[in-house]
């Protein structure tokens, strides 16, 4: 952080540092086994490692805000990015589409894992 530009809300600095520290703890947990566990069952009773990963992914506001849109009830799902601004619709990601809610949720998971592993 440059000296000139501190955020008006200083707790943002604590948040950013915490997030950076936590990523270092989360990265080693993102094993093939944990990723496969999520793919098998995004909404199950998860292992401790997957729970800790999901708790981080779900609370971190440093990650792109992906959501699932059900474009055809019980048939088709797509991903979107929230605008964060009431009145402004989420940006739909046209492709790919998914034929199950679980696949769409896993796709969100993978995108977040990708972001966590880099930067």
């Amino acid at each position: 952080m440059t000296k000139q530009e501190l955020p008006a809300d200083r707790s943002a600095i604590a948040l950013a540092r915490f997030d950076a520290r936590t990523r270092l703890v989360i990265r080693p947990l993102l094993t093939k086994k944990v990723i496969a566990e999520h793919r098998r069952n995004p909404l199950g009773d998860h292992s401790d490692a997957l729970k800790r990963v999901l708790n981080y992914l779900r609370r971190s506001n440093m990650l792109t805000p992906y959501v699932v849109i059900c474009t055809k009830p019980f048939r088709e799902w797509r991903l979107a990015r929230l605008s964060g601004e009431r009145g402004k619709a989420p940006t739909l990601i046209e492709a790919p589409s998914y034929n199950s809610e679980a696949k769409a949720m896993h796709a969100v998971f993978l995108k977040r894992v990708e972001e966590v592993m880099h930067d």
Binding site: P42, L43, G44, D45, H46, K51, N55, R58, R59, N61, P65, Y66, V67, V68, I69, C70, T71, P73, F74, W77, A80, L82, R86, G87, K88, A89, P90, E101, A104, M105, V108, F109
Partner: protein, 759 residues
């Protein structure tokens, strides 16, 4: 190609034969639509379930109708009645109010105005586009006098805001002084705030009459197609005791007002006391009193929040009815809505042939479709069945038009958000208003909800964050009742609120929906009276009887909820604002008003979680002879409900628990308890006095649902399934399953004349 949208609403949600219901519809992208009445049996489109079922009802109104777009003008404000044009000043004016702006940087907002925005004529005290207090004086000649205080306003802080103008001298004054005490603002007395500032400037000499209406918290901007006043420049925040003088006050006089001292009455035209009308029953009125003697009274539009702490609240008295002088504020929001104000397209006078049931007006145009649900109840005092389904309309309203799926709520619900096109439409159209699960655009909680507006998420097929919830979940019960051959009447929360136990008494048994969460005192009294006198209840949901809810006594289409210091809550009322304006009672949880749900139904809210649902395991009481009828036909060791359309089990979403310390009757039988919830199910916050690690389902035994049964005096009884997910399991295996069997065993026995063995 314009997208086609059809949206509608009704003026009454529960009607009996002979009564009339009006339907308001707006059509975008089409000029005609088809309308018919259908009886709703099931709405859930899940292919794993029985599928949508509806029956067309032949009525006078089936057919084609011309469609047109009808706008909605949200935003609360006060319209002043000024028949004699006393506020149409043109030579001199002073304006003063105490203000607490909540979004000063959101663009120009009028605190009080009589302003024509097209001609730029009249007068207005505003928060300008730079976030400063400013005075606008104009004559339509293109060069209004604009005077702004040099310091920007800070959000959520009280100020004295004053201004004056004198045509004789052309002098304009704007005076701004913080009015912060220890409790009334977001900052306290220790923080550095701008000291009082004023601008005194020499402007042009203008005669500033205009034709506009006088408005508080906005400016008049024409008329809507339906003829009501259109208002723009909505002010977000609180205003307390505004006044207008017909002479130009000096800086010293404006400073005296800032100190709470009234100048002499010369030239006083209007002085509004927003606390006038506060009495034992709260302040359930839109009327705003002018105490100047000129009768320039006002009317609130779109339900701005009343009974709100004023600039001089000192924090000692928190009940507004005991210190009305400190509750002279109204909190305005640019996204408040009471009445969409649409013209009705068609109406129905309910024929005698329409049996009591859940219906909807189904409007269609090509692929676009909307269902506008309503209930036909039996005539007062003339039930047509021994079973009544009590449709939880107060709870439907509490959730109506919620935006919570867009909030960062994943951690709370344990799943990625799944949105529908209806959710996105609501998000893109803030003019449709909000729910009690939302914050206003200025960050304050939503405390009033009206059903005089389209509610796209109160539809038979809607999915709430991908879950079966509310009306669609309750329709699974209706579908099951019909599949199992039960006759039933449908009544609503509004009917119970109005008629109390008299509504329920004719019925052998009453069934709740899956989530009867919002209850008024009158509803609770009615249910309690009914049960204590021998009534029978099947509580087929979870987290019921939870939030204190009041109906506006003059507006049955409006409810109020103040989410207070405790409870699993989407927002928290500010200190001093826990009491309901519409009734004067304290808001929050019924548990914290000494009426925990355990006292009524033997169980109360224990935990929530939305990843997967699970099963129940029978408890020793389930083998008690007195409960034999409940498990008739079932193997003794079978787990119950390890299946279902509500995420795979009968125990899920929100769970209730037996608890003797909270009022479960000591003779209640604990028939079964759920097992195997994940750590996304956490103990409810109202039971956690200090945090502790391990409050989730794998580590906290209090995270569970308890099925409870007990008898009451006079032959009554209560069966509590204690889970929102229960009814989602009824249809499994073509209704041949143990959740269906248990529900049927209880319902048959409760609706028969055979007495129950006392527990």
């Amino acid at each position: 190609m314009t997208a086609v949208h059809l949206h509608g609403y009704i003026d009454r949600i529960s009607v009996q034969p002979g009564e009339r219901i009006n339907f308001m519809v707006s059509a975008e992208g089409v000029s005609r639509y088809h309308a018919e009445i259908v009886r709703l049996i099931n709405g859930d489109r899940n292919p794993a379930g029985p599928g949508p079922k509806e029956e067309v009802v032949t009525t006078t109104l089936g057919g084609e109708y011309p469609g047109r777009f009808q706008p909605i003008c949200s935003g609360s404000h006060i319209v002043v009645e000024d028949h004699d044009g006393l506020l149409n000043l043109g030579a001199a004016i002073s304006i003063h109010a105490f203000i607490m702006p909540t979004t000063p940087a959101k663009g120009a907002q009028a605190i009080i105005s009589r302003w024509d925005p097209e001609r730029r004529a009249g007068w207005a005290l505003v928060v300008d586009e730079h976030g400063r207090l400013a005075l606008w004086i104009g004559d339509g000649g293109g060069s209004p006098v604009i005077a702004a205080a040099p310091a920007p306003l800070v959000a959520n802080v009280w100020y004295s805001a004053g201004a004056s103008y004198d045509r004789e001298t052309g002098r304009a004054i704007v005076h701004l002084a913080p009015a912060v005490n220890s409790v009334n603002s977001a900052l306290g007395r220790v923080a550095k705030l701008t000291p009082p500032v004023w601008l005194e400037m020499q402007g042009a000499s203008l005669t500033f009459h205009c034709d506009a209406r006088a408005v508080i918290a906005g400016w008049a901007a024409g008329a809507t197609p339906a003829g009501t006043l259109l208002v723009h420049g909505h002010y977000n925040g609180k205003i307390d005791r505004p006044l207008i003088h017909g002479r130009a006050l000096s800086v010293m006089e404006l400073a005296a007002l800032a100190g709470g001292r009234e100048p002499d009455g010369r030239g006083l035209i209007a002085r509004w006391d927003f606390a006038d009308g506060i009495g034992d029953q709260g302040i359930p009125t839109d009327h705003v009193t002018d105490t100047s003697g000129n009768d320039l009274h006002g009317r609130c539009i779109n339900l701005p929040a009343r009974a709100m702490t004023g600039y001089n609240w000192n924090g000692r008295e928190e009940h507004f009815i005991h210190a009305p002088a400190e509750y002279g504020a109204i909190h305005f929001h640019d996204d408040d809505l009471e009445d969409a104000g649409w013209e009705a397209d068609f109406e129905l006078t309910v024929p005698d042939t329409m049996r009591s049931a859940i219906y909807a007006a189904k409007v269609t145009a090509g692929d676009a479709i909307d269902y506008i649900p309503f209930v036909v109840r039996p005539p007062t005092g003339a039930p047509s069945a021994g079973i009544a389904f009590l449709m939880p309309t107060a709870s439907y309203m509490a959730y109506s038009n919620t935006q919570i799926v867009f909030a960062p709520s994943e951690l709370f619900v344990g799943r990625s958000a799944v949105l529908t096109p209806d959710d996105i439409y609501l998000y893109e159209h803030p003019e449709l208003g909000l729910s009690t699960y939302d914050y206003h655009s200025d960050g304050s909680g939503v405390c009033y909800v009206s059903r005089w507006r389209p509610i796209p998420n109160l539809r038979p097929h809607h999915r709430f964050d991908s879950l079966l919830w509310g009306l669609p979940a309750d329709l699974h019960l209706i579908d099951w009742l019909e599949a199992r051959g039960f006759d039933y009447d449908v009544i609503t929360d509004e009917d119970l609120h109005r008629e109390g136990a008299a509504l329920l008494r004719p019925y052998k048994v009453v069934l709740t929906g899956t989530h009867p969460e919002y209850y008024s005192a009158a509803m609770l009294d009615g249910m309690e009276d009914y049960l204590a006198a021998g009534g029978r209840l099947m509580y087929l949901g979870g987290n019921g009887f939870y939030w204190v809810t009041s109906y506006h006594p003059g507006k049955p289409h409006v409810i109020e909820v103040r989410k207070g210091e405790g409870g699993s809550r989407a927002w928290q009322a500010r200190p001093g604002e826990y009491f309901h304006s519409t009734t004067g009672e304290r808001g929050g949880l019924w548990r914290n008003r000494a009426r925990a749900p355990q006292k009524l139904v033997g169980v109360g809210f224990a935990a929530q979680g939305f990843d997967y649902s699970t099963y129940y395991r029978r408890m020793p009481d389930s083998h008690d002879q007195r409960a034999e009828f409940i498990f008739e036909g079932l193997p003794s060791d079978e787990v119950i409900g390890d299946f279902g359309l509500s995420e795979g089990g009968a125990a899920g979403h929100e769970l209730d628990r037996y608890d003797l310390t909270l009022g479960t009757p000591p003779d209640a039988l604990l028939l079964a308890s759920s097992e195997g919830h994940s750590d996304n199910f956490q103990r409810v916050v109202e039971e956690i006095f200090f945090n502790y690690p391990g409050a989730g389902g794998t580590q906290d035994s209090g995270v569970r649902s308890d099925i409870v049964y007990f008898t009451t005096a006079g032959g009554g009884a209560v069966f509590s399934a204690s889970s929102i997910a229960w009814c989602g399991s009824l249809a499994h295996n073509n209704y041949g399953n143990n959740v269906s069997r248990i529900t049927e065993n209880v319902l048959r026995r409760f609706s028969s004349d055979r007495p129950l063995v006392e527990t």
